[in-house]
Amino acid sequence: MKTIDLDHQSVRELNQGLHDQASACTEPEWLVLNPAGKHAIACGLNAKLSVDIQGHAGYYCAGMNQQASVTLHGNAGQGVAENMMSGLVRVRGNASQSAAATAHGGLLVVEGDAAARCGISMKGVDIVVGGSVGHMSAFMAQAGRLVVCGDAGETLGDSLYEARIYVKGKVASLGADCIEKPMRDEHLAELRELLNRAGIDANPSDFRRYGSARELYHFKVDNAAAY
C-alpha cells in the first residue's frame, strides 16, 4: 500500500503518482491522509486502483474516474465523481452539489445525503444515495439510474431524458416533464441489484419510480409554458 500524506505532499504529486499507474499498474492500493478539503483529489484516474481517502475532500474528488475504486471516508465537496466513466466512488459521509454530474458510467454511492443537482445531466452513471437529495436533482438527466433512499428536494428530474429515478421517501415536487411511473418486476429487480451493489439495506418495494413523460422531446406550441 502506498501512502500519501497531503500535509506533506501536494495534490499534484498524488495525482501524478496515480496517473502513472495507467501505463503499468504496479501499486494498486493507495491511502491518502489529511485531504483537508483539498480540490481535485484523485481525479482523472484510469487504472484498476483502490484509493482510500481518510477525511474530507473539496471539489471534484475522483472527477472523471475510469476503472478505479475510490472511497472517501468523509464528506465530499462539489462535483464528486463528476463525469465518471467507470469504476466505483463511495462517499461515506455527505456530498455537496452536482454529485456525479454528467457521469457516463460506474457507480457513485453516497452513504449520507447529497445536496442540490445530484446527478445533473447524468449520462449513464448509477447513483445510490443512502440519505436524501437536494433540489433539481437529475436535472436534464439523460441516462443511468438515480436511487434515493431518503427524500428528494424540489423539481426532481426537471427536463428529464431517459434516466430512471427511484425514491423511497417524499418527493417535494417533480420538475417539468418528470412523472411517476409504475414499478414493474424488471424495475424491482434492477433496483435490488443496485442496492446490493451499493451495500445499502432497503426494500425495493418501498420505492417509487419516476421517469420522463417525453412531452418536451419536440418543440410544440402547446408546451410553451414549459420552455
Partner: protein, 441 residues
C-alpha cells in the same frame, strides 16, 4: 418588384419593414420563435469602419515578398507544459459534429492542418475523422458535456472551456431533431430524433471562483500539459476577461455578437452581446491592467472575413483570430452552384441560414447521408486551406505596408476610424483627426 411599388407611390414603413411584417406573420402562423443559423445580419460597427495608415515619410514599409513578415503564434505560454504553436494566427472556431457533417469536420481539420493552424471540436464531442485529420485540435468543454470523456480530453492539444458564444451569450445550444441521427444521438447519449436543448450553465460550477477550481481539475487530469482556453461571448468583456485571467486561463477566446451559430433564436442572435469591434479594446485593457497582455493570449472571433479583418483585430491587440462562418463559406456553404437546391427549400445562395434544418445543399450543416456526400473532405480542405492562405497573405500585405516584420507588431497606432461610433468602440482616432471619442478633449 420594389421599383414597381415605389413608382406607384407606395411607401414602405421604416418601422414595419417587410422583414418585420414577415416575422409577425410567421410568428402568428407557427406560435414559436424563429430559430436559425449564421450570425447577426443587422449592420453593426465593424472592421470595415477602420483603415490602416500605411507607411510613408515617418514610417518605412517593408518590401513585399522579399522582407519577412512572420505570422506564427504560440498559444498557452502561461501555465501549460505544451503550448500550441501555430504557423498562422487564423484558427478554426469550435463547431459541433451534429451541427456539421462528419465530412465538414474532416475538411476543417484537413484545411487547417495544411496551413499549420488549429481546429476545434464543439458541442457534441470529438470524432475520429476530425482528430485524425487535425494536426492541432482544441477540445471544447461545454455546459452540455455531450460526448465529453477524459480519453478525448487527453487527446486534445488544448482545452477550451466554453462559457458563451457571441451569437448567444447567456444561452445554451440547440440541435433540432432532423439532425439527431443515430450517430449524433449515440455520441450525445440522447434519444434519436428529439429536439435537443443544451444547458446554458455548466452543471458543476458557477462563477469565477468555481471556475478557478474547475481549471485546476482539468489541469490535474491532463497533468498540466495542455493550454486552457476560456471562451466568452462579448458582453461585459472588460470584467469577464479579468475574471477569466484571475481564474487561471492561458488563453481568452472572445466571440463578438456577429459570431455565427448553428441554431439559435433569431431574437438572441440580433439583440444580445456587443460587436467584436467594441469588445477587443475592453479585453486588451483588462489584460494590460493585469500585466497579462501577450502572456495570456487573446483569440478574437465574430465576423472575420478578410485579411484586413485579421490584421485589424491583431492591430487592436488580438494574438490570433478564429473563424466559423467564413470557413463554411470557403468550403462551399452558400455557393451559387447549389442555387436550385437552395431555392427548392425556400432560400437562395447568399442568404441561406437555416443550418438547424439539416437540409444544407452543400453537405456541410447536415447529417443527411446523401447531402453529406456532396462535400468531399479533401476538396473542402483544399478550398479552406486556399482561403486561409489568402487571409494570411492579405494580413501580411497590410502589415508590411505599415512597416511590420510580424503580424503581432501591428498596433492601434496603425489604425484610424471612418465613423465616430467605430472610433469610440475601437479607441482609435477618427480619420484625419486626433479625436478618440470618450478619451478626453
Amino acid at each position: 418588384m420594389t421599383d414597381v411599388y415605389v413608382k406607384a407611390g407606395l411607401r414602405e414603413s421604416a418601422t414595419f419593414d417587410r422583414i418585420t411584417i414577415n416575422e409577425i406573420q410567421r410568428a402568428a402562423d407557427t406560435g414559436i420563435y424563429d430559430i436559425r443559423g449564421f450570425g447577426a445580419k443587422r449592420r453593426v460597427p465593424h472592421f470595415d469602419d477602420l483603415l490602416f495608415l500605411g507607411a510613408s515619410m515617418s514610417r518605412y514599409p517593408l518590401e513585399g515578398y522579399r522582407e519577412k513578415c512572420a505570422t506564427d503564434v504560440t498559444l498557452g505560454t502561461r501555465f501549460a507544459k505544451r503550448p500550441l504553436k501555430l504557423d498562422i494566427p487564423v484558427t478554426i472556431a469550435g463547431m459541433s459534429f451534429g451541427a456539421l457533417s462528419a465530412q465538414a469536420k474532416e475538411a476543417l481539420g484537413r484545411g487547417a492542418s495544411i496551413v499549420g493552424t488549429s481546429t476545434t471540436t464543439g458541442d457534441g464531442g470529438m470524432t475520429p475523422e476530425e482528430r485524425g485529420q487535425s494536426k492541432h485540435l482544441v477540445y471544447q468543454y461545454l455546459p452540455s458535456r455531450y460526448g465529453m470523456n477524459p480519453d478525448d480530453l487527453r487527446k486534445g492539444d488544448a482545452i477550451e472551456v466554453v462559457l458563451g458564444q457571441g451569437a448567444k451569450p447567456g444561452g445554451g445550444g440547440m440541435l433540432l431533431g432532423q439532425k439527431i441521427t443515430e450517430r449524433v444521438a449515440g455520441m450525445r447519449t440522447l434519444p434519436v430524433g428529439i429536439d435537443q436543448r443544451s444547458a446554458c450553465r455548466h452543471p458543476d460550477w458557477t462563477g469565477p471562483d468555481d471556475l478557478a477550481i474547475k481549471i485546476e481539475e482539468l489541469r490535474e487530469i491532463t497533468d498540466w500539459q495542455k493550454p486552457i482556453f476560456i471562451k466568452i461571448g462579448a458582453t461585459r468583456t472588460y470584467y469577464d476577461v479579468k475574471l477569466a485571467v484571475k481564474a487561471g486561463a492561458d488563453v481568452i477566446v472572445l466571440d463578438g455578437m456577429q459570431g455565427g451559430t448553428a441554431a439559435t433564436q433569431e431574437v438572441f442572435i440580433e439583440h444580445v452581446g456587443i460587436p467584436t469591434l467594441a469588445a477587443i479594446p475592453q479585453a486588451v485593457q483588462a489584460l494590460q491592467e493585469m500585466d497579462m497582455h501577450r502572456q495570456v493570449q487573446l483569440i478574437v472571433s465574430g465576423g472575420i472575413r478578410t485579411g484586413a479583418d485579421v490584421a485589424k483585430a491583431m492591430a487592436l491587440g488580438a494574438d490570433a483570430v478564429g473563424i466559423g462562418t467564413a470557413a463554411l463559406i470557403a468550403m462551399g456553404c452558400n455557393h451559387p452552384k447549389w442555387n436550385q437546391d437552395y431555392e427548392a427549400i425556400g432560400s437562395a445562395a447568399g442568404y441561406y441560414d437555416d443550418y438547424h434544418e439539416g437540409r444544407c445543399p452543400a453537405g456541410i450543416s447536415t447529417q443527411d447521408p446523401e447531402l453529406s456526400q456532396r462535400l468531399d473532405p479533401v476538396d473542402g480542405g483544399r478550398r479552406l486551406a486556399n482561403y486561409l492562405r489568402v487571409l494570411t497573405m492579405e494580413a501580411q500585405t497590410l502589415a508590411r505596408a505599415c512597416g511590420k516584420s510580424h503580424l503581432h507588431n501591428l498596433e492601434p497606432e496603425d489604425l484610424v476610424a471612418l465613423t465616430v461610433e467605430a472610433a469610440a468602440m475601437a479607441r482609435v482616432p477618427l480619420a484625419g483627426t486626433n479625436w478618440i471619442p470618450g478619451q478626453g478633449f
